[in-house]
Symmetry: C2
Subunit: 80 residues, 2 copies
DNA sequence: GACTCTATTTATAATTA
DNA sequence: TTAATTATAAATAGAGT
């Protein structure tokens, strides 16, 4: 899609953020589509380099925990 | 992509599994691409209707817990 | 940042083997 | 069934606003 690129870290910050924004939305869209059409539950989480939770996609049955004191993040799925 | 379809549950089992297989691999590919090019950590988990962990994508710092006795699954990210 | 445009590449539904 | 092929639609890099 678009001009052909090699997949490696985009060094230009502005360009990287633009690409992230574009790809994030389409990744979310595709996760939703496979969840619906294939009847699966999907969890998608992205953490930025600044360690912020950038995004998640769910079937409304996931929860994301972000403890502040330990270097651990949990995303839990309730399969009930 | 392909013939235009409405996004809804595919009722035909064979067709649904074929679609799942195709979409799963491209979703994983895209998750890896955004992780690399945008320097973010991504976690992607899919649970099948049979409650099996179908897939996950990571930066090698995620771990998936699958307790068998409780209806809860955890995907944990170590941000160290 | 957040949109728009579009040329180009990728993804994929349907089909065929 | 599982794997290619094909025809078509979607995603997106780059450029401009």
């Amino acid at each position: 899609m678009g001009r052909k690129i090699e997949i490696k870290k985009i060094e230009d910050i502005t360009k990287r953020q633009v690409t992230f924004s574009k790809r994030r939305s389409s990744l979310l869209k595709k996760a939703k589509e496979i969840a619906i059409s294939c009847d699966v539950d999907v969890l998608l989480v992205a953490f930025s380099p600044a360690n912020r939770l950038s995004k998640f996609c769910s079937q409304n049955r996931y929860c994301i925990y972000e403890p502040t004191k330990i270097p651990l993040r949990c995303a839990c799925y309730l399969s009930i």
